[in-house]
């Protein structure tokens, strides 16, 4: 029965919570079922997805050395500037930047910069808060958006496991009950990264989507519909997997909704999360400022005005500060599928600026201590930046060569690896990890980069060094959190051992 299981898990969580006196980095206690820091800890992960396949070669690009020469050959019109003098004047006017955002030399001997529209993220890099992980992908290159997304979500290079790698973590060790809501994704649908899972998940574009239809007999109706869902999730999951899942979502939604959103006016009638998003009139709107001073407020930080990702991360900040149980988040923007017109009207530049400004504003909100108006209690108001890890990813990078000689129409097609950005938490920033792939040393296909890091090393680093999963449970292998590759890949490699990357200690 669902109730019994919930009660059991609550007891389990309480036991584990008592162990946190040993510190948040607690790893593992032999002989206990719910011993991970992840169960009781307060570490948070925010995944930032760039839908459509981001052109990584124009996100972190060469500015000096042999790689620069090749870059200029392969990208005759899409190349980004290596000196201030090379900037397009209208870019400078539009983006207010004419500086090359250097991140210095790479192990491959050439030097690199971050896209010039990403000044805010570059500043965090300079402060040692953000790092670049070069050349991350998976073996057995696949140029399909949808196959590649599945592979990234499942961490299975063959894309056959069907279970999101983070969903496996959520199911792992009994940390979360069926109607807990540990993860929230800001989007239209449940991101497969988190599913299927035995726990419930929230997905929403705006908190106001969580308005329970409040019409007559509200309380009774709410308890009745909850009872209906509770009966659905008691069905046999092997025969009725969809029904059980909808039942769980229903119970969780109805029970947690009021923490998030109450459709009232004024603090007393607002949900705990919603209360942070109320304006002076007690109204809530997606574009409002937060009730406290924050770089996520469009009125005080015009750079993020109108950016969907900044709006979504403002909601994430509100959920984190409201401390309602959600610790894992997903935000996304796109489309990065720049087959044509990649920089026509600075299309790709605008997208990257949105990512950069939004993430930086979010990080700087987490970094500050906030002062809430009177009457607000039970919120996390301190500096949370060391608790919050941000990881970016995209399903694949794009071809080394641009696909049209025409400067207006030029774009790039589907390819392989990308540089990822990691920031916040205990990230050792201000540096690049790994050798940037060489532009004339293609991988499995002639126009693809050869990867430096297997993505399982990135995910495994997050699981072990950030979420406290013991090394013995990481894998790769059957029953482990990371799937194994059962055969040698086309480049003759075989992933047999997880190797942590140094961006998290």
């Amino acid at each position: 029965m669902a109730i019994t299981r919930r009660q059991f898990l609550k007891r389990g969580a309480a036991t584990a919570a008592a162990l946190t006196t040993f510190g948040p980095r607690l790893r593992w206690l032999p002989g206990t079922g719910v011993s991970y820091a992840a169960c009781s800890g307060d570490t948070i992960v925010v995944f930032v997805q760039l839908y459509g396949g981001n052109d990584g070669i124009n996100t972190v690009y060469p500015i000096g050395g042999a790689e620069r020469t090749k870059y200029e050959t392969f990208r005759p019109t899409l190349k980004l500037p290596k000196t201030s003098g090379e900037f397009d004047p209208s870019f400078v006017t539009t983006f207010g930047n004419s500086s090359v955002l250097s991140i210095g030399g790479n192990a491959n001997g050439s030097s690199y910069a971050i896209h010039p529209a990403m000044g805010a993220l570059h500043a965090l890099y300079g402060q040692g808060r953000a790092a670049v992980v070069n050349g991350v992908h998976y073996p057995f290159a696949d140029h399909s958006h949808f196959r590649s997304e599945v592979i990234w979500y499942t961490a299975d290079p063959l894309g056959t496991s069907g279970q999101g790698w983070f969903g496996r973590f959520l199911n792992y060790g009994g940390c979360f009950g069926a109607t807990d809501v540990p993860a929230v994704m800001m989007g239209d649908d449940l991101n497969p990264l988190f599913v299927p899972t035995q726990t419930s998940l929230f997905a929403l574009n705006r908190l106001s989507e969580l308005q329970f239809p409040a019409d007559g007999e509200l309380v009774e109706k709410q308890s009745t519909v909850s009872a209906l869902y509770d009966a659905s999730n008691d069905r046999d999951p092997s025969l009725f997997p969809e029904l059980v899942s909808i039942g769980n979502t229903g119970v969780a939604t109805v029970s947690k909704m009021q923490d998030y959103y109450k459709a009232g006016s004024g603090l007393a009638n607002a949900g705990k999360v919603e209360a942070l998003l109320l304006d002076g009139n007690g109204d809530y709107d997606a574009d409002n400022d937060l009730v406290y001073a924050s770089p996520l407020n469009p009125s005080s930080n015009p750079a993020i005005a109108g950016m969907d990702m900044a709006r979504d991360l403002k909601h994430v900040a509100a959920m984190i500060r409201a401390d309602v149980g959600a610790r894992f988040f997903h935000v996304a923007t796109g489309s990065f599928d720049t087959h044509s017109n990649q920089e026509k009207g600075f299309y790709h530049s605008f997208l990257l600026r949105e990512v950069s400004e939004s993430i930086a504003a979010f990080y700087n909100d987490m970094k500050q201590s906030v002062t809430l108006p009177g009457g607000y209690g039970g919120y996390q108001t301190g500096d949370l930046s060391t608790k919050v890890l941000v990881v970016t990813f995209s399903e694949f990078g794009r071809t080394i060569k641009q696909n049209s000689i025409n400067a207006g129409a030029a774009g790039t097609d589907h390819a392989t690896c990308n540089p990822l950005f990691v920031l916040g938490g205990t990230v050792v920033g201000g540096q690049q990890y790994g050798s940037y792939p060489l532009l004339d040393d293609p991988g499995q296909y002639e126009d693809d980069l050869k990867m430096t890091f297997d993505f399982r090393d990135v995910f495994g680093t997050v699981l072990t060094s950030w979420l406290g999963v013991p090394l013995t449970d990481i894998g790769p292998g059957p029953g482990k959190l990371l799937p194994a590759t059962t055969q040698t890949d086309p480049l003759g490699k075989n992933y047999v051992t997880f190797t942590p990357i140094g961006f998290l200690p």
Binding site: H145, D189, E209, K221, A227, D337, H339, S404, I405, G411
Partner: protein, 504 residues
Amino acid sequence: MAVAWNFDNAAHLLRRAAFGGTPAEIQAFHDRHTGVADAVAELLGFRPSSKKPPGAGSVSAFNRLKMQRWWLKQMIASKKPADAAHEKLVLFLHNHLVSGANKQPNLKYMAVQNQLFRLNARGNFKTLVRAFNHDPANLYYLDGITNVASNDGVHVNANENFGRELLELFTLGVFQLAPDGGPDPMKPNYTENDVHNMARACTGWVVVKGTKGIFYDPDWDGGRYDDNGDDAPDPMTIFGQSSDNFRIDGQPDDVLDLVFSRTDADGNNQVSMFVARKLWAWYAYPPPAPGLKGLLAGFASIFANAGFELTPLLQAMLSHDEFYSDAAKRRRVRHPVDFVVASLRALGVAKTDGKTVGDSDREMGDQLRIMGMDLFQPPNVAGWPGGLTWINSGTLLARLDFAKNLAGSAFGVHRVVLKPILGPLFGNAAASPGAVVDAIVHRLGLDVGPLALTSTQRTALIAFATDNGARTSLDVSNEFTDDVKVKVRGVLSLVLQSAEYQLL
């Protein structure tokens, strides 16, 4: 084993292949036929219409809403079950050969594409794909208009967007099928080289503004055969066959013929396997399932032997034992359009303006967007993935909201009249709450089959209707008593909100 032709199976067929109906409509449909084959033939006997949605101008949400209103009218107000079946098939095609409004210079191209689907809904799939290749909405959506191979072979490639999706999403799929109908990652259907050359074979189509023209322009295929700029055709190889002159549109070397003749390791026609799988997932249940590949192979051979005519394939699927099995009846999640349209039809709403329902301040098209299904604007070229991706906290509450508004709708074009729902109970000032609950559950088809509400759920509904047993009867003597407004319409809303009703 012949499929039992009874009310429940007639209801199942209408729910899946059309948009359901009232019990009286289901009964009449059942009584018109002696067996399942005739009944399916009726549904597939629609006359493909050349109607075109009123799409024009900018692709704003406002203009899109007008088109959505029009399409919802077709779906809700189709009197004949066959016309509703037609609409469901057009919706399938919209979700299979995908284009979206967001990349169109003018919304009219989405309207033209919808008309293309209407005309070909039960016709020849190969003919449809051939027409889709130079459908303007597709040319804009998948960059066909900028797919111009240059003769500077150093820097450039053909734009692979359409060439790739043609193989991956529209015809072959990335992999052959494993025995359970899932992908077999050891058996790819094509190589990256095939994709690249397919893109080259698709060059040359242009949309000329002002002349309404879409045509093949040899200047725009420039260098298609000429990778090295020497002004001589270069052969390209697709699926191991070489030609100097592959083209997608027939003359002289038809690359589409190559695609449609691909077979898998077991000799099944691969396009047929792929299309059969997609239709099975749309009408019956989602792969994988034990032994599914064998079942699909039977359908695929019918499809291939019929020269890719859709009608014989659909006739075989919708008449098959497995389509009426418990396995098929318990796992299909309603998509939002079905949730909205079938609910209106089941409750006897036969006329519509396609706009708002009940007290909602949002049009249906807009509510569908919040439920995750913005018609004419799928999330990406793979369409709506369906299944459990429809259901999350935000979209579920949007469904709850619609249910509340529909159940409470006592006035206007979308009014729900209770008399035919309650039947002989109506007019009784002291009706049995259990009987009222049962009548509503029956009306929405959750009284029989694997998705029938459990006794626990029935008890919960009766507890709501009786204020936890504080009362023993309901006054349903007319449409507007307090009991009707709060309890009867409340039960109706709750059943529409149940997890079971989100399946069909």
